[in-house]
Point group: C2
């Protein structure tokens, strides 16, 4: 089953919007065992869209169009496809009712062109839009299937997951599925990881290994194409074992949505421990990353942002003479921040961050110099780091390093 | 001048990588007055790439290819384009020297296929790669120009800005340039903004108005195509005046990289004022956003993360009876948090956040219920908000609302 994705919108060609829809749809289609051969972006131009439809028909069975279903002049996808198929656009009763209800609730005046949104191609299957007003359409001819989806990702994604997936699974049942497993690593660069796994990556055909570098971590996606889910999972498992034997020291978890903060919160919960923080250069970023995790209140109840020497003294009670003697960018300062925060909040662990976010130097230290400390009942562990790149990268690297330090302490307790 | 962008890479068609190169290049080309008519993504497949080159030649003068210049088997762009043009690939001396030096420095063994990276198409202009090893190539025939760029954004971007831009400006001098101006709005939704400017958006051809919704804000990009920079700027100015007359109340600043936190820090600096915060559901996110801004230490020295009722009492000294009586999700709690934080840190302003990030309800309040407070010497201003969507969106909306409340107080002082 060959497919291609066409995104319609001049804003994409002007570089004002990133085509994340193509990425999302490709991932979903891979998962359904449908091959994607092309992504194309074309502007809001009927002639070029028509030419592209002719080309797409000649090379793909499933043609997915996104964007151009809205109420404005520029929104011409539905009209061009209908004309191309020699069909009319007709009002969909359900969609029309929803449109009327929306304008009644919001007390706004409905204009003529809003009616476009509740139209579908005659003979097509309407795809209701739970998070917006423009209906999608699925239309099938003898040789091709057309899928028209709205442009805003907040509308396209739920429509695809809730309605299009079941529809495609029914219309185009696939023998072969792709099964993926994502391994997440912290503390090893992409080039090193790839070097360590070079022969595996080169020789693996099914499953494949795709490394991907993200800020402060690397992921490996193992993907197997199979008609036998059990055998596929076994192949993934066998490959993972080989990988873990080489780079398992840096592995911290599975899945697209997992994260180092989540791994730390999971360990804290498991061990019934609590954490606080005192943050200088990260200014609350570590605690905010904790706060992002639902249910974190079980292990985290608050902490300090001590950005200046003054607040380090005032909020944490650190002796100004110590700061004077060693400076705020020092092992001693990080240690005291962690010890005092732990005492004041009364937690099992406290993580402290002090350093130079940049762009300027501080106390003679270059941007990127960071001291971290983790205090527990066993004492204080510190670490000096030298991060590179810009202010934002330095702060994020420090935050992730803090999570990693704490994670390693927790793992030693298991 | 018509151009198109072809990204080569199966990882893009599998949805593993987002095609941000196309977005970056489109923005740059718009800026150079070069029209982009298509983006295409094709896999690492020589036949399909060759077909695409034939199509591209028939419709575009400038064909930009990115990806597939590396040392692996999959990297076939240079080879396919050379074959298509009937040219050989030849070693570039400078590139070859750099390659040798790299392997000498890193003490790694250079393999045969690494030599691919320092090859260029015979007769083409080599484009050195400051941040990587694979050379780019610019090649011109009578009817078409080809630009081959590396896939990693960290290599493509500097190569384009430092080398390709000057080259294109020289080879294809454009009379007409695009000049853009970005206006940023907070507190008004995209649909409302578009409705308020409907007639302007519909009738404007040059300059154009492109609205773009981001989380918690909307931007308008005004773009004029002109050969006369002065006249272009005047047209932008005249259009902006019309827009400001209608929706100026929500406007907070200019530019792609400006932000509400930056606007607040600018105002605080201007007025010589300082700020602190006490954060419950946002857990340090407001302070971390302040910390992201270089030079913020002039106006911000630290604050509190009080995620639980216990830390609200312990760190801020809020009477537990007050929390008992009104609950932590209350006007009274927010007020006390702001008042106490301001006293403890000794600042001009303090912003407090308390509420329900979700997904669960808290003290009977649904997720999204948030109380904010801004304390100053004049007293405390509070605001109750009801945000929608998920935990992350609720926390971010609260943070931005906090910046907006403070910004409005500061503007009243001007």
């Amino acid at each position: 089953m060959k497919s291609e994705i066409i995104a319609v919108g001049t804003e994409l060609l002007l570089g004002q919007v990133v085509n994340t829809n193509a990425t999302f749809l490709s991932e979903q289609l891979a998962d359904l065992g449908i091959d994607v051969y092309y992504h194309t972006v074309v502007g809001d131009n009927p002639t070029r869209l028509e030419e592209l439809l002719q080309l797409a028909e000649s090379r793909s069975e499933l043609i997915i169009l996104c964007g151009g279903l809205g109420p404005t002049e520029d929104d011409l996808t539905k009209e061009v496809v209908a004309q191309h198929l020699g069909k009319e656009l007709i009002q969909n009763t359900e969609g029309y009712k929803k449109l009327l209800a929306f304008f009644e609730t919001t007390k706004r005046k409905m204009t003529e062109n809003n009616l476009q949104q509740s139209q579908i191609i005659e003979g097509g299957t309407p795809l209701p839009n739970r998070t917006g007003l423009a209906l999608g359409t699925f239309y099938q001819t003898k040789s091709n299937a057309y899928l028209l989806l709205p442009g805003p990702p907040s509308e396209l994604k739920p429509m695809f997951v809730e309605q299009v997936r079941p529809l495609l699974e029914q219309q185009f049942p696939s023998e072969e599925k792709l099964i993926s497993k994502v391994l997440r690593f912290y503390g090893i660069g992409e080039s090193q990881l790839v070097t360590d796994l070079k022969d595996l990556i080169a020789t693996q055909i099914n499953p494949t290994i795709a490394p991907y570098a993200k800020p402060n971590e690397v992921t490996l996606r193992l993907t197997v194409k199979t008609s036998d889910i059990h055998a596929g999972n076994q192949a993934l498992h066998a490959l993972e074992e080989k990988i873990q034997a080489r780079v398992g020291a840096y592995f911290y978890g599975y899945g697209d949505d997992y994260s180092l903060p989540q791994a730390v919160v999971d360990l804290l919960k498991e061990q019934g421990k609590t954490v606080t923080a005192a943050e200088s250069l990260t200014a609350g970023g570590f605690q905010s990353a904790l706060g992002a995790i639902p249910g974190v209140s079980q292990v985290f109840s608050g902490g300090f942002v001590t950005y200046s020497a003054e607040t380090k003294a005032k909020l944490l009670g650190i002796d100004p003479e110590l700061l004077e003697q060693f400076g705020t960018v020092s092992k001693e300062c990080a240690e005291q921040m962690a010890i005092r925060a732990r005492q004041l909040v009364g937690t099992d662990y406290a993580v402290a961050f002090t350093g130079v976010a940049g762009p300027d130097t501080l106390e003679g230290h270059p941007a990127g110099t960071v001291w971290l400390a983790v205090a527990s009942k066993e004492g204080v562990e510190t670490k000096e780091c030298h991060f590179t790149r810009d202010r934002s990268a330095i702060r994020n690297s420090a935050i992730m390093q803090g999570f990693d330090l704490l994670r390693k302490q927790l793992l030693r307790k298991k």
